[in-house]
Amino acid sequence: MTPGIPGTGIGGLFYMLSAASLPLREGYRRVWKGAAAVRWRVIALQQLLAAGILGGMWTTGWLLGVLFSTAHAHFAAGPAGTSHNVWRTATFAVSLATLLAVLGTVELTRLWYRRRDRLAARLERGTPPTPIARPRRRVAAAGARGRWLFVLLAAELVSAADPTTALSQAKSRAAISLARAESLYETGDVEAAIAAYAAVLAIDPQNSRATYRLADLQRHKPARALPLFEKYVALEPADLWGYLAVADMLSRLGRNDEALRWSAQALRLGPTERDAVIGQARVLARARRSDAALAAYRAWLATHPRDAEAWQELSRELVRAGRPGEAVDALERSQSLAPDPKVARRLAVVRGVAAPAFTPLVSGSHDSDGNTVWRFGGAFELGAAGPARLGIEGSRTHVVGDTLPGADLDALALRGTWQPVATVKIDAAGGAARIEPIETSVAPVPVTPRNGPPSQASILRWSAAVIPTGQLRARWRAPASRLGVDLGADRGVVDASPLLVANHVIRTQYSGLLSLPVAGPFTLRAIGKTATLSDSFEVNHKTTLSGVMAVAVAPSAELSAQFHQIHYDHLSGSGYFAPWQLQVAEAGTYFEIETPGSLVLAVDGGAGVQRVAKQRHLFGPWTAAFRLYAMLDAPLAPGRDFRLELDSEDSQVATTATTSGQWRYGSVIASLRWALP
């Protein structure tokens, strides 16, 4: 159906103006509202059509002008020769004026009824209408609009003379609509219920029940639900569930401080109300304030030990706080109160995490200098006991390269983890590495001695040796913040090539990382490392300084701009590349994805440029630098997790030591954590 007289009338003009203003509209929507624009191709076509129609109209006018002139000249019967321009202009002006009059009438009518509806709504709530205060100068400047407003106001007063009818009509319509909406809500037809509650609010915008229900049905869209819940709180300020709902939405949006304020307000309204107590614990948990959340859950469970759901939530926070053993106890309490298959599955998983476990591991790596490293090993960890966990790990490493037949390295260490509170975690390991003696008749390799020109030097050591190794790492993360400190110290054998192993190059490194939230999603990280690379021939120092500006683009994803600078004191003859300075500037990304089946994929990648200044040389040209780390963690069964890690790079930043200035590297690690029954 095409109402009216398609092509002519003011409809043609209306759609032509509509088409002409489309680019402005879409530009405005895209820039100011962030809305996805309609297809620009369609808009362009409509622009062409509008232009074509304008051209057609002009052609018609021109042809008519010619026709009239000819007719007038020959027959003196047509309109005057020059009048066609007048007709054309007048017709267009009349059409435009008519269109504006029609559209203006619609807008005025709309304004009139909108004000009437607001008045009726206020009357329905029993509050007197409040005069709208307008700046005096605006009314004065408005001129004619002011007179219109006066007319509208008078009409409004007349129409408000009998508000009872409007009131009862609005009430009955709203009640009927609400009943229909409630019915749909009960049937579980979410989509229909949303539409129905929206319809109720269209009739009665202040209906608190419809407001809450509409928001509740859209909890999965926090940005949409939040203003509705806020409106509900304004309508029903004594209802603590409104505050809880607002807190929940804010929490989902990552606005944790605001969420905590709202949940605290709910708790003030109902300090013994279960939903208020548990609601605040949930907000705390989502804000990563695990210790406070644990305290809240424990306080509640101390007086309500039969709350199975609270036990489940407590267990989740205990796992997060590094106490899987206690989490198992909490889940077992929950199961004893209310057996649930889902909880049973969760319990099996957590038991697997808490149980003693054996983790065999195999890895292989290869670099562009022809070095290949194979590692076979395993770890055994005892069952979790409170905040601490102990284990032992061992491995045999076989390193093959171009210059030597191969070197072997055995390592054994005791490992412990201690997490006294959720925000602090300390890892420590201590042990030894035994380097096997190398038997070879390979000729001495070139060695560059300290501060001197390259010369021939023999390989330093071929004998076996036992070297003490160790690691210590302490991490602290502020609750509900990205502020954090990560300190570490470690000592180990550098095993990137047979030569390095044969030379017994040992690295002792101290590192520190400060993570500082700057503003919004931005975090600044400052990283410093100082390492001593020593063997019996020489001692070298390596210093690393890094700055990272990261922006969180999603809860588990971030982008970053990074700059790293590495400095070696002097050249080395032990088999690793020791430039005077190395600089890397790169863009990085990090994200984690977890599927509903708990398959986890984590990727850390970077791409940028690097430049190297060899000892006593200027910087060389910038060249490309890439790195990629990916980890896939696949749970095979409760207590059995397969992990695959891939690492690849051609940047010297991340490695303990590289063997040349043009170094590329790739490695694969596969491990299987097998919890013992």
Binding site: M1, G9, E191, A195, Q562, V653, A654
Partner: protein, 364 residues
């Protein structure tokens, strides 16, 4: 390990990602209301069965036909339901079938309409956006032979290439055409299906959806071909129904439409053109010709021909039907004049005389 950030990967935070299944034909039920449509319903059903996104179920509502419509449909293997008595309107038949729909989406297709094989598939993506409650496609006459069919052909080419595209750009197609539209079933149920309170149930439903905060989309790539009236009598029946339906809907919805941006302007403009402009069009030009004593004024009836031709030719060019479109243009001006007459009569009857059309008179 990661280059610079030795992250704690032991407990990655879970990412809330809703599972999403693309909509397919299995989410669709097609309702075909049919009253004495034995001649055409077979083609309609076959065009539905050969869709690239075949619907889960095709329900033909045999509205107590006497020409064996139900048997034709049944022979083609579709579900045929028959109300206890004639529902009296297309809206009634469609609403009768709605209770049998078990899918998220419902398509209404007239029994004299065939679809392009990809029509359903093209409409489905519109519903990936949650707020969309209805979507309609491009309409073109199945047969273009008689004067009236040709006039309608040009009218549709013009309206669907130009007016409706602009409306779509503003997110407010004026109407989800009754001959072929897809709806979200839940929304249909909220509104009680198709109402027979007006003679234009599709316009009524479309405007109700807008007022409920829903979106309606126009998808020009989804093309359908209804059989248009081939005689003046049939055309008159259809135009009478449509014109009254439009006026009735304006009377029914004008208050609610005030809150729907752009649509309120489009409807106001259409209403002006259907009433005041139609009166001027039909009356003023002859009077002027008589007063000025020159027949040249009557050129006003076709003065916009070049402007009309632009979208028509563009629309026809896409279909490689320029010759047919140009040959049909004169018929358009005849139909437009008749159209204006019917709308003027309807406005007079509904507004001035208070004679509301209640009886659904089947044309095409």
């Amino acid at each position: 390990m990661p280059a610079t950030l030795d992250r704690d990967l032991e407990l990655p935070p879970s990412v809330e990602r809703p599972l999403h299944r693309p909509l397919t034909g299995s989410d669709v039920t097609v309702i075909v209301p049919a009253f004495n449509e034995a001649e055409s319903v077979g083609s309609t059903i076959r065009s539905l069965q050969t869709q690239t996104a075949p619907p889960r179920e095709i329900i033909v509502v045999d509205d107590c036909s006497s020409d064996g419509t139900g048997n034709v449909a049944r022979a083609l293997g579709v579900t045929v339901i028959r109300p206890p008595q004639n529902t009296g309107s297309k809206a009634g038949a469609q609403t009768f079938a709605l209770r049998h729909v078990r899918t998220a989406l419902t398509v209404a297709v007239d029994a004299d309409t065939v679809l392009e094989p990809v029509a359903l598939e093209r409409l489905l993506p519109a519903f990936e956006k949650p707020g969309v409650a209805a979507a309609c496609g491009f309409v073109l006459p199945q047969r273009v032979r008689s004067l009236w069919e040709r006039g309608r052909y040009v009218e549709y080419l013009f309206a669907f290439t130009y007016y409706k595209q602009v409306q779509e750009c503003y997110g407010r197609p004026l109407i989800a055409s009754g001959c072929f539209s897809m709806y979200r079933t839940a929304q249909l149920r909220v509104h009680g299906g198709w109402s027979n309170r007006t003679m234009a149930e599709d316009m009524d439903l479309t405007w109700s959806l807008y007022q409920g905060g829903n979106e309606v989309r126009f998808v020009p790539e989804a093309v359908c071909y209804p059989i248009e009236p081939r005689t003046y009598k049939l055309m008159g029946q259809q135009l009478r129904r449509w014109s009254h339906g439009f006026i009735q809907n304006v009377k029914l919805h004008w208050r609610g439409l005030l809150s729907v941006p752009y649509l309120r302007s489009a409807v106001a403009v259409a209403f002006w053109d259907a009433t005041v402009a139609a009166a001027l069009y039909l009356v003023l030009l002859p009077i002027l010709a008589m007063v000025l004593r020159t027949p040249w004024v009557l050129l006003g009836y076709v003065i916009d021909a070049p402007a009309v031709l632009v979208p028509v030719v563009v629309g026809a060019a896409k279909r490689r039907e320029i010759g047919r479109a140009l040959a049909s243009v004169p018929a358009f001006f005849v139909l437009r004049t008749v159209n204006a007459l019917f709308f003027l009569r309807a406005a007079g009857a509904e507004f001035l005389l208070g004679r509301t059309l209640h009886v659904y008179e089947k044309g095409h």
